[in-house]
């Protein structure tokens, strides 16, 4: 099955949403963003939204794409993911009960279930698990389990992806706050009821005027393998995609650069630990007390997502024609910054106080203010992109130019890490970095270059 055929088939399903989502000036369908991009890139996805607006339906669609290769669970206070993967070995248990078990038998009293080789793990209503239970999901979302002291990968052919959904706003009885470390592992998090992603009036008309009379979400109908083979093949191609030089150079800005706090003792927000964003040394007339540095995992995830969206745009003919490399670099950086909208708002890097007191509790408004279209930070990043590209052109050939680097940064501050990274690259002999390495690192798996 070709990539285009797989992408076309992923456009089909019971969940209906014909919203066009503009990212970096490229028009994507809702399914491009909500379904295809995470499946193509193998990034974990977290759907948020009000009740009754299609999260479970979307979940059933995604599960059906994997046929029998999915594992579905519902979040509840006493849920523990390992119960999906372990079961008692009845034969060994019989021996134990009869007093016939050897020490070797005793070690085999527990065995793994077939679920460990599934490709998709879906947790519905994730925030019905209390924070202590949410901790058990870390490994699941990292694509591994610990069994009898060994770390085992989940999935088969190296593919396992975690999807989850939750009611947004934690405003419902029986729901809990989301653990920050778990949110960071949910590489993408989208409120599907936010106006930018919500179903259109036409969709609602079609839904209520169609054959569907039962308000319950339709259950998955696909059986067998579903589209598993096509999805895995598509991901294999994605893994071979080259990594963007511009995004590699900009990555330190979002990790070390955003950490810079001009007037604090160590010029570091991380060094402030729990006192951020309330520390007295932070500037209040900038966004120092509003945005925290992104984790490396979050940056890797955003880079992979950008590349996945680029691949979808290329396959579906949405990349603007007859553009120069410089234009396309700008498009890519714009796409990356917009892709952050799919990763950042619920990741915990925006100050909750800022979201609540200055943005009316809307995480997307906070994101737009800080990194969205028209924000000072975005303008600065887009403005520096041509110089970063120039510097990387030289660095690829092992060269640097001081005047050019000075245009990126002349002194310590947010852009100094970008300058340092470019110089580092010019002096290194690093070669052949691919998206597969990026995704594995985002999943916390060793082996990436």
């Amino acid at each position: 099955m070709s990539i285009k055929e797989t992408l076309n088939k992923l456009e089909q399903g019971t969940y209906q949403n014909s919203r066009i989502i503009d990212l970096g000036g490229v028009p994507f369908t809702a399914r491009d963003v909500l379904v295809k991009a995470p499946l193509l890139t193998k990034l974990n996805m977290f759907y948020l939204g009000d009740r009754g607006e299609g999260k479970t339906q979307l979940a059933h669609d995604v599960n059906s794409y994997f046929g029998k290769n999915h594992c579905y669970a519902e979040g509840r206070p006493d849920f523990e993911p390992s119960e999906l993967f372990r079961q008692l070995n009845a034969q060994t248990l019989g021996k134990v009960l009869r007093g016939e078990a050897s020490p070797e038998d005793m070690a085999q009293i527990e065995k793994l279930t077939a679920n460990v080789s599934k490709n998709l793990f879906y947790i519905d209503e994730l925030n019905r698990c209390p924070p202590i239970t949410q901790n058990y999901f870390f490994n699941l979302m990292d694509g591994k389990i610990v069994f009898q002291g060994r770390i085992l990968p989940l999935g088969n052919r190296g593919y396992s992806v975690g999807f989850a959904s939750a009611n947004s706003g934690n405003a419902y009885n029986g729901t809990f706050e989301m653990d920050a470390a778990l949110l960071d592992r949910m590489h993408m998090a989208i409120d599907i009821t936010h106006p930018d992603f919500f179903t259109t009036a036409g969709d609602i008309f079609d839904i209520v005027s169609g054959n569907k009379k039962d308000p319950r979400a339709s259950v998955p109908t696909a059986s067998g393998q579903g589209l598993t083979e096509g999805i895995l093949e598509m991901h294999e191609v994605f893994k071979q995609r080259p990594v963007s030089p511009i995004l590699c150079a900009l990555a330190p800005y979002f990790n070390l650069g955003l950490d810079y706090a001009q007037s604090t003792t160590r010029h570091s927000k991380r060094a402030l630990k729990r006192t951020w964003p309330n520390s007295s040394g932070l500037k209040e007339d900038t966004d120092e007390n509003k945005i925290y540095p992104m984790s490396k995992r979050a940056i890797l995830a955003a880079m992979a997502l950008t590349s996945g969206l680029e691949m979808i745009a290329e396959t579906t003919g949405k990349v603007p024609k007859e553009r120069t490399n410089a234009d396309l670099n700008e498009l890519e950086v714009g796409l990356f910054l917009d892709a952050l909208k799919l990763t950042v708002p619920f990741s915990g890097i925006i100050s909750p106080q800022y979201i609540d007191t200055e943005c009316g509790g809307d995480a997307y408004v906070a994101f737009e203010n800080l990194l969205g279209e028209g924000s000072a930070r975005r303008s600065e990043i887009i403005g520096k992109t041509p110089r970063v590209y120039d510097a990387m052109l030289l660095a690829e050939r092992g060269k640097t130019n001081t005047a050019l680097l000075n245009e990126i940064s002349t002194a310590e501050g947010e852009w100094q890490p970008v300058r340092d990274a470019i110089v580092h690259y010019a002096e290194s002999d690093k070669e052949d970095l691919r998206q597969g390495d990026i995704v594995e690192q985002a999943k916390g798996n060793p082996g990436g270059k």
């Binding site: 030089p245 590699c248 001009q262 670099n329 028209g374 002999d429 070669e431």
Partner: protein, 232 residues
């Protein structure tokens, strides 16, 4: 080893429609641009010092610079200060507003015994927390507007108003700025100060002036400066 071939890529292929040919021509154009830039800089370094700014037309009419006498200064004891570190901002009148000749320091204020004294009186521990971009001069960088104003007033100085701030920059651009000895400031020194104040640099920097603005929403409530709808 690093390839010297034009357009060669060690790690990166070409996605999103970018091409090797495009990268090759971009690289060639870049090399050419950088070579021209270096040549231009080399020429500038041998040109007379005042050349870079004399071509900039004066923004304000020039008035004769009077010998500085009893003028309010942005420093502590003028007699102990280096006269080359100060610029004379000539007196100006704008309708009902006027100011007298003012000595303006060309460096940001750093910590010293008088600053410490004022800080003690104000219970504000002023410290050198930053360094100027264009020289090694350290300055007090961790103060907010109010703390900065209090410090200058405490030192018997006068914070520049927005009008004075504008005139100060215009004077630097005009090439007519003189120090306390009455000597013209060199073009390099003028450009240094301009870059220090106006340059888009990292770390982010700015100057406190004697004016306070707040961003308000339609209900008069203070809001963040990056809000889309605001009233100043």
């Amino acid at each position: 080893m690093v390839s010297e071939t034009l357009g060669a890529t060690r790690n990166f292929g070409f996605t999103l429609g970018r091409t090797a040919e495009g990268a090759r021509s971009d690289y060639e154009a870049l090399e050419k641009r950088l070579a021209e830039q270096e040549k231009r800089l080399a020429q500038q370094s041998t040109a007379p010092v005042s050349d870079p700014v004399v071509s900039i037309p004066p923004i304000i009419p020039q008035s004769p610079v009077t010998q500085p006498q009893n003028i309010p200064i942005l420093s502590y004891d003028l007699s102990k200060a280096n006269p080359k570190h100060f610029l004379v901002l000539p007196a100006r009148t704008y309708g009902n507003y006027s100011y007298s000749d003012t000595a303006v320091c060309l460096y940001r204020l750093g910590k010293n015994s008088q600053v410490e004294q004022v800080g003690k009186a104000l219970s504000l521990p002023y410290e050198d927390t930053a360094k100027e971009l264009t020289n090694d001069s350290k300055y007090i960088g961790n103060v907010n507007w109010e703390q900065g104003m209090k410090l200058v007033l405490g030192l018997n100085g006068t914070p520049l108003t927005t009008r004075q701030g504008l005139d100060f920059l215009a004077l630097l651009v005009s090439g007519q700025a003189k120090d306390l000895n009455g000597n013209l400031l060199g073009a390099n020194e003028c450009q240094r100060v301009i870059r220090e104040i106006l340059g888009k640099e990292n770390p982010w920097r700015s100057e406190w002036l004697d004016a306070n603005f707040k961003y308000l929403n339609s209900k008069g409530k203070p809001v963040a400066s990056n809000k889309k709808e605001l009233f100043i």
